[in-house]
Assembly symmetry: D2
Homo-oligomer: 458 residues x 4
Amino acid sequence: MDTVIRNGTVVTASDSYQADLGIEGGKIRAVGKGLEGDEVIDADGHYVFPGGVDVHTHLELSVGGAVSSDDFVTGTIAAACGGTTTIIDFADQERGHSLHEALEARLERAEGRAVIDFGLHVSITDATEEVLEEEMAELVDAGITSFKLYLAYPGRYMIDDRSFFRVLLKTRELGALVLVHAENGPVVDYLTNKYLSEGKTSPVWHALSRPPEAEAEATGRALSLAAMAEAPIYVVHVTCAQSLERVKEARRREWSAFGETCTSYLFFSRQEYERPGLEGSKYVVCPPLREKADQEALWRGLVRNDLQVVSTDHCPFNFVGQKDLGRENFSLIPGGMPGIETRVPLIYHFGVNQGRFSINRFVELVAANPARLLGLAPQKGTIAVGADADLVVFDPGKEVTLRRENLHTNVDYSPYEDVTVRGYPVRTLSRGKTVMLNGEFLGREGDGRFLRRRRFLV
Amino acid sequence: MDTVIRNGTVVTASDSYQADLGIEGGKIRAVGKGLEGDEVIDADGHYVFPGGVDVHTHLELSVGGAVSSDDFVTGTIAAACGGTTTIIDFADQERGHSLHEALEARLERAEGRAVIDFGLHVSITDATEEVLEEEMAELVDAGITSFKLYLAYPGRYMIDDRSFFRVLLKTRELGALVLVHAENGPVVDYLTNKYLSEGKTSPVWHALSRPPEAEAEATGRALSLAAMAEAPIYVVHVTCAQSLERVKEARRREWSAFGETCTSYLFFSRQEYERPGLEGSKYVVCPPLREKADQEALWRGLVRNDLQVVSTDHCPFNFVGQKDLGRENFSLIPGGMPGIETRVPLIYHFGVNQGRFSINRFVELVAANPARLLGLAPQKGTIAVGADADLVVFDPGKEVTLRRENLHTNVDYSPYEDVTVRGYPVRTLSRGKTVMLNGEFLGREGDGRFLRRRRFLV
Amino acid sequence: MDTVIRNGTVVTASDSYQADLGIEGGKIRAVGKGLEGDEVIDADGHYVFPGGVDVHTHLELSVGGAVSSDDFVTGTIAAACGGTTTIIDFADQERGHSLHEALEARLERAEGRAVIDFGLHVSITDATEEVLEEEMAELVDAGITSFKLYLAYPGRYMIDDRSFFRVLLKTRELGALVLVHAENGPVVDYLTNKYLSEGKTSPVWHALSRPPEAEAEATGRALSLAAMAEAPIYVVHVTCAQSLERVKEARRREWSAFGETCTSYLFFSRQEYERPGLEGSKYVVCPPLREKADQEALWRGLVRNDLQVVSTDHCPFNFVGQKDLGRENFSLIPGGMPGIETRVPLIYHFGVNQGRFSINRFVELVAANPARLLGLAPQKGTIAVGADADLVVFDPGKEVTLRRENLHTNVDYSPYEDVTVRGYPVRTLSRGKTVMLNGEFLGREGDGRFLRRRRFLV
Amino acid sequence: MDTVIRNGTVVTASDSYQADLGIEGGKIRAVGKGLEGDEVIDADGHYVFPGGVDVHTHLELSVGGAVSSDDFVTGTIAAACGGTTTIIDFADQERGHSLHEALEARLERAEGRAVIDFGLHVSITDATEEVLEEEMAELVDAGITSFKLYLAYPGRYMIDDRSFFRVLLKTRELGALVLVHAENGPVVDYLTNKYLSEGKTSPVWHALSRPPEAEAEATGRALSLAAMAEAPIYVVHVTCAQSLERVKEARRREWSAFGETCTSYLFFSRQEYERPGLEGSKYVVCPPLREKADQEALWRGLVRNDLQVVSTDHCPFNFVGQKDLGRENFSLIPGGMPGIETRVPLIYHFGVNQGRFSINRFVELVAANPARLLGLAPQKGTIAVGADADLVVFDPGKEVTLRRENLHTNVDYSPYEDVTVRGYPVRTLSRGKTVMLNGEFLGREGDGRFLRRRRFLV
């Protein structure tokens, strides 16, 4: 073997057991006892997890006048340092342009720069006949097997119900998956303009202009349209109990419906927007943060499998020079929060240590399920012979107090500043190579490969 | 007293008791024993109900090339003969025209012709600033306190979510009520065109192009938008379990949401569309007829107060010369069925005789609730001192086999042909005057008055 | 007419309208305008309600060493002064004795003493063959159409599941109704003894030894047994969300199931037991007071018709000399609270004034529904020609601050001390006679008659 | 390695991947590629599953005058031949006797005879102080970590609510698990006697005397008692939608509640009891078979994780000489059906082949979950380094028509006669030794070991 990880407790979505892992050619080749290898890593007393899979990130995304502050280099380094070995980012079609153009532009940014493997979803904002009849099929053949659609942002990203329905019919035919950003765009825009015209410009109005029911309505609509198209659907960033209820109800009817939440919604609430000065702008995300009761509802959704994935929607903007663009107008605050580096330890600590779910469910939520749903299994998201050796050696006893200065994300604040977690990745391997050791990045720019994903099967 | 109805069993939404009713000046003036009057009507052994209130009719409505075959004369005569003493019909705005124009046009058709009292809802299809900022308020002042909005029929009646939301905000401000026709227009239109282009032209494809979930989705959306606007909402013609579920859920959350179903949906199912030849066209209505299980769900909805009103959506078209326009294309069949005359006896027989609900609940569903919700209480819909003497003397023992030839509706078929009911109105009074006696119309064209309705209060 | 109440706003479970009421021979004889009578009562600006019907009281009930401090004289005076004109109390079978003996003993206490009409439920604690095969039928014939069963108090009142089931089968046959006190006796007794043996003797342990789930379990069991017996069932004093859920679920399945809550559970919570000293003992009732969230759940149950009745479980004990028997042992505190006099104004103020429900629903909850369910309609519980003239003239503007010294109940404290309500009965009539005027009792001991009730029909 | 299984597709509750398995000392020692061993088993084209775990069997159980026809030899051979490598049977306390006596008696029957590993639950029917204060703890120390309680069979197995509650409190303290047979004994007994006394003696009355609600009630009660005791609970043989609803509701509240169904309830319905002659007696089980709609509800429960385990309740009786004891009286038919041998292929075929759930979920239901819940993980129920080499080589293409003559169970009929399944075990290994090959039993009497199980952890 090239490398052997010895004596760790191997954890998958269903099992925990002590064994050595043997790695060859970047893949897991053996699970056993007393394995020998050129490089031997001692994991005694540690867990060995499959590397985290974060299927919702926005690196170097241009939003209004701002570009999210992590590019494919810094963002993937942060991911690796936090125990994540695969991300899926987005290529957004511009109206009047093709999907291919969007994809090419993003590949150009990512290839040769990402330090861990990555995939791309393509967002359809202009469902022309060409998109529907040609491009979607070509992309699926090329390993882009998920498409994102927006029911928010009319005039920019939003597509109408007819196009939404047609894309769903097409994904069903092709074996692809629609991801939906579910907020009722017209209502949100109306309220935004109304509040701004009334001089209500501070961050709290960001939340008030995007009420939970606007999300729940769009979620329900997307699920209904998918049911009529008999197509699977994946709701990104479910933030509130109302919206979660729609996902539950759809699943109760055995529709092929899936729900994701993001770390931010599990930890923060609407109260953040009332912080003094412009502090609230740090927490501006879309959909906005909700009530504390919603946080608890989301955790329960994770426990009960009403939600299947925790991702991050990582989209950081610096407080100085970016977030402060919204000083006079909440709608100019670039929306997004960092999270790519802290997801794995936060979900471990607040999920497993606090008794909400088992360590196996933790692996399922942050690695196995996202890999399965987005066409990456069994290559990613589990520990099995034949899978990529994307692994995390995790010290369950290591206490870390999260601080911006110790994190690798390129952003001037951390929403988790001073939060202490017990349990932290001490080593990350990407296809067999150690890319992080004890908090230090050891990988190489451009080592991450673009992932051609499988068709949707679940 | 002008008139006394003696010895009947007076039935209201909450009580049943034997008493005489004294009428003066068209109003109920006394309830008691041994009342004397100029005219004495013996109701011994009979029920005395408040006259039926049918808040959803379409008399002489122009649909494509056809006009519904009952005008305000024949339609209201049929109503009176079937125990209904109040109807509310619709004035539909044409795009590019004002609400006032729509209202004037309809008043012209109705006034001087209707034989019982009538109100009008106004349908908004073009929510201009003028409509929102001026006309709605003027109409509410004039006693038009309900507005209908369509989420179906894009390009003709459908308004977009933004306009829908704005109208809701305005009704809340004005104390008015939105009625919504809830079907997802874009999906229905897409499927209709798809099926027609595939040569699927028979009536059954009418149902298949309007799936229950298209109704449920739009129902859910309308309810969510109303909840966000904090405005009351009334869903017309709920036809299926899925849609009913949305109404129930809204009511469970204590939103101000109300649901109506129509007689057709309680008695007929999708199987009717598979009748030989063009027979299925007789049953083409929008939304379409559903499954038998849905009928039972609707009855349960009435029992459990998830639905509050049974109306008719009366909109008859002759089989010969009208329904047959769709011989080659289901989308050309004028949609609608008769019902105005048979609602009261059908709901009595299949509701009360068959043990589904009490006689008081029957009165609530066909008279008291529609009157309350549409701003007609306490003038209509109950028997109380001060209310209009709109009354039905009902013989619970009279068996009638419904047949087109014995009905007064101006249409060449009856969907209820040969259905036998026990219990039938033998006398109908409109503001104290007998307008029907033993099946014979005794009223006078033009005696019906336009009703200025109250603001929404529930 | 003997008496005319003029110009009041008559309120029933479904209608509100201005009219005069004419009374003759103790019954309502006329509803109209301009009625004349020997005695004329001006109700201008006032509501005229049907007198309250309280179907759950325990006057002069012997509990351990204590007897509840209101007898049939003081208790019914208090009722009348608070706007209640009918009560139903209990005759509890003693083991080894017959139902008739129990009934006779209670009739002896009540007849010639009660100032308003009263009925009696009979509690079966020993379901012998004689009880099942003879006495139940005889009692139903005699107008005792409801039987109470206990799932709590093993060894004293509790009957086993087999007997419970047999009584249900019998009530179904006879047209009677089972009322159930639903708490799991064995669990409660086990916990009580456990806590006492651990030295946990203060009032708060009363609540902890009777957990909500012990009530919910027994409620669910009673409902299931009734469903299997196809017999109607009425759950007395539903106190918590869990228990309410069982009632809702039963009703959702269209079982013939009904739920009552009592004023105490709407206003007080478990926190009362933590009052200093022995103060908590004033709030000891069975089942115990619950959480604030349960109060809100109960109110919503009343709004949504998951619960149909508010009664009182009036069973007062003096703080000095009775409640203080439990100084060293919570299980010796006689369980019960006063309420008979304050129910009507409290439910009006906190229900209607606070916008929870309409004035008609108020009448339904405190008068119409209890009368219907317990076989007293249409004689009691409504205002209709032919009904008993049990009426309350209610001044909606009268503010009253409840104080023990102004109440008529014979007990040395009021749990509602210093609560202010707006709206209060200013006159109560029992079968046409004024028994209370402006807070002063004007009736006569013994004027109340025993009510032979109808069979269960709903 | 002693043995290597090569090239199979290894399937666990979460993963499927191609690998070799290396076995040493009866345990899985290595998972990898190109493993070498003394014995090499080619599994190319086959699945390798963890051996099935059947936690609900009744071998040589005495019921009335009959003893179930499989003893620990024939029963475990049948299990092994059908892909099951672990069973848990029962030791039932007799009233007046100790738990130890029960255990000893059963160990005597099983040890030296079973061909695969086995555990024992102990049924408590007489919860004396000695049982509660001494024996339970001793048994848990000895690896008996689950206790069965009956709410049915008064006078024989049933214990009262108080004892039930006390056992629950004790299991919580000890880390054990209560299994409950949930049917309301008093109701069932009452109905049984009633029907028999009315001359209703045929098998269909078996079902009618044990209505679904009698099961649902007892299920709800058991769950409530467990919730109050804060103890985990496992409901055996959930048979109907009503009962399943209680389990779902308990889990929704995040009680530690688990549900099992058995193969019979997934495949047969009440109609079987109407088979001609005494044929219906073959299907007499307790609880009885239900409606077809219940079957579908149970399958959905398995899909949605409302139920966690499929076991068999294997308890065969010969038609001739045993089942026919009930010729004149359904209550004398010994209750039970065979199933131990057919569970794995039936659930695979009707679950996986018919698209109800994934192959991983199949493994979870028949092996992983029962092992986890009953204290056998990670030794049993999964394929992981360190686990027992209890394995099934499964040919997904092999079609088998089930016939009594080809099965190994010692009973004269098969309820599954002529059912064809695709996919069947071709080899079973118990701790590394092949005990079945191509339908032939190759193991040895007495090789099965008694399993000391872990405490309950979930």
